[in-house]
Amino acid sequence: MKVSVASLSALTLLIISSSQSLYAAEQPQSGGTLTWGVETEPNTLNPQLNGQSKAELILRVAYESLLARKPDGSYIPWLATGYSVSEEGKTYTFTLRDDVKFSNGEKLNADAVAENFRHAQDPAYCAGSSICALAGRIESVATPDEHTVSITLKQVYSPFLSFAAGLKLISPSSWTSPQLKSGGTDLAGTGPFILKRYEKGQQIEYVRNPDYHWASANARHQGPAYLEGVTYRFLPESSVRTGALLSGQVDVIEGVSGNDAGEFKDNADFSYQHALNTGTPYSLFLNVKYGPTQELKVRQAILQGLDISPILQSIYRGERTRVWGITSPVDPLYDASLVNKYGNNPTLANQLLDESGWKTKGADGIRTKDGKPLSIEIIQAQATVRDQRDVLLQALQAQARQRLGIDLKIRYVDSGTYTEVRKTGEFGSIANSNTDTDGIDIENHYLPVNAGGAINYSRTDAPEIIPLLKGASQTLDNTERKTFYGQLQHFAILQQALAIPLYEPEDQIAAASYVHGVGFRPFKQMPENAYDVWLSKH
């Protein structure tokens, strides 16, 4: 089955590259503005404090980082020409370009960069965002000369590089701006576009940065952007985005539902692309400290008894990808060894349930033990219900009832209740996905809650996991890390059934045929970057 995943991604690449070669005859041209219909409005425009994956699309055009990444996850120059890691693995040294300016005219030098890392360590600035935890590992930041920044960690921590390389840098004068936390025109970046206007609830406008000439090594051209400006219009409703693009009121949209994909796929007036997200798949994490899921056999029964693939097929019309492990198939740390290793085995599942004492079935077909029904409450935060996940959960619910006699209760909760539930740990399962790369997600999911496992929904503190996580984060060798995470994955999914991976969320882009060069950022696979986009006559 490894083959099919590989061929699938090859096919995707083929589709993307063929759609580009289609227009290869035409030369990119400068000019015009682009209107992009987007799903998510950023809650803050400060690119460092904003934790919404979907806001990257909007903020990346103005704020840039030290290094860019190739699809395989390796690092290439951007605002830094290169980096080195000290022998013992604790000090990262970045060499900066000497010709980069923020859009307000301030120079990007070692001090400007160092200031970004220093603020990232200050709880008064970063509290509430994920950069706080990562920057908390910094021991000191030094600027040996005008173009060199050295960051020393308290101890070796391999995911740190991805944080340091990816931190979106803001200009020195930003730190004293009253807009610092909310973000806005005061916060100058180095990007190819400059934030011009933000109309809350409506749109955000950028204009071209005419001085820009430091595109990352993976960009398709150099010099200023082709577009004179780009406007992101907030259209939260998926059907409205589709309609707006079909009727020519916007040029590009992202977030296309499985039902609408067909409108663009087989339509010469539009292009359609999609790419898997990085990070943790959308999974049901099963609570090992509360309710029936405390029993290993119950968790095993859910893992083995459900048949996920046909459900995904019918809900998403084949537009979403089934996953089996703890991270995304596009992650370099991905280990495909669990593919088809479990699931769709109701006989085994029912046997496990019988063995564990959930034997008798009530009139409603739900198993009981000591008079109590086998009922598991799935918590889904209302804020993360998207992409027909509610329908998916309902389908799982029906299957679990029919095949296994398990009653999955779905509860959609507001964020207050969600934090409350996570704090008390009184839930059967939490369903969610995350996009962080480089093992950051894996640590957050599998470290014990009291040791910093911020999103350890299964609440596991199995002693077997710690050495694997430690081993992985304390080596800089990716092959070794992959081995550790592979072992972790076997333990967490196959042996312990801490989580039931469902599908890998993805991003979609549909664009009018006169829009060229839209695509996904290499590696992280978020919809990107207005920089390479150009418009042909239309």
Binding site: A127, S182, G183, G201, Q202, L235, V240, Q249, G416, A454
Partner: protein, 329 residues
């Protein structure tokens, strides 16, 4: 329609002291409503599940240092009653604080979102009143007209405004391209949202208004008017409508509430700026400063509008203008 014509000719009731007393009482009760709105919102947000510090921290590693920084930054380290008193004190000085979630100044945030919402609900109100009056006046006491109008209204009233919005968009924006899909730039971008919000509410008012008209047309005075030789239209518009208007005006108060809450969804569908989304997000995220500011502003809108409705009563029904006729609301 009726609203405009009555506003045009303000006639004050005769006895001055009672008029002043009324205004004073109005102002006092208005202030009381505002204070109650703030206090109740404050209490209910605190009683809602989830602690604000954990919410502000989100799904990330929580250390005592981060927690302390958040408490200090937002004044959450003070006792609750102090937080409440501080808040009241600041509001009296026009300072609504800073949003926990958006990190922006709340008064400018709410003010910038208030106008688009008021425009939308205002036009939706006009739409529903025009619709209601037209439907009621043209079909009352006409058997078939009444049946058809009745079923149209039933469909509209039971259609979710969300769905109506998508249908209107599909026809008039995506297919005919008469109106833009989103934004708040021109009047044309206001038309579809106002229709989708106004029609369903108007359908309810229309049914009440028609019933009122029916009763009014059965009154003996109509026979007198007919005997005078007045035409059907004149009787309906000039005389019967006035009789039927009181319950409809009362209902308009309810209508405005419905429009304001309906605006949440309409703004979402049409990608419009407005109070809707920030309010929902603020409530979900326990963003207390925003919730309180919205509560104050909506209470203010209610106070102003209900005062207007009361004044409107006086103009519609002269009997209420008697000195003995104290407020009946």
């Amino acid at each position: 329609m009726t609203v405009e014509s009555t506003f045009g000719s303000p006639r004050l009731p005769d006895t001055a002291p009672s008029w002043r007393w009324r205004i004073l009482r109005r102002l006092l009760s208005g202030a009381l409503v505002l204070w109650a709105a703030v206090t109740l919102s404050f209490i209910s947000v605190y009683l809602a599940p989830g602690d604000i510090v954990s919410l502000l921290m989100g799904e990330q590693v929580q250390t005592p240092a981060i927690e302390a920084a958040i408490r200090a930054e937002w004044g959450l380290d003070q006792p609750l009653y102090m937080q409440y008193l501080h808040y009241l004190w600041r509001v009296l000085h026009g300072d609504f604080g800073r949003s926990y979630m958006l990190n922006t100044d709340v008064s400018s945030l709410v003010l910038s979102q208030l106008w688009p919402t008021l425009k939308l609900t205002g036009l939706a109100l006009v739409v529903s009143l025009i619709f209601a009056v037209l439907m009621a006046v043209t079909t009352v006491h006409r058997r078939w007209g009444q049946r058809i109008a009745g079923s149209v209204e039933l469909v509209l009233a039971s259609t979710p405004s969300f769905w109506l919005g998508i249908v209107l968009l599909f026809i008039f924006s995506f297919t005919l391209r008469w109106f833009p899909v989103a934004g708040d730039r021109s009047f044309s971008s206001l038309v579809l949202p106002a229709l989708s919000l106004g029609l369903s509410q108007g359908a309810v008012v229309s049914q009440v208004l028609r019933r009122g008209l029916e009763d009014a047309l059965d009154e003996p005075f109509v026979l007198t008017l007919r005997a005078w030789g007045l035409g059907n239209a004149t009787i309906r518009l000039r005389h019967a409508l006035r009789h039927a208007a009181l319950p409809a005006v009362t209902l308009t108060g309810w209508l405005i509430g419905g429009l304001l809450s309906g605006a949440v969804i309409t703004e979402q569908v049409f990608g419009r700026p407005g109070l809707g989304k920030i309010t929902v997000d603020a409530v979900l995220g326990k963003d207390l400063p925003v919730v309180l500011a919205v509560a104050i502003f909506s209470a203010l809108v209610y106070v102003v509008l209900s005062t207007l409705v009361d004044i409107l009563y006086l103009f519609i029904d002269p009997r209420l203008r008697d000195t003995s006729g104290e407020e009946k609301s």
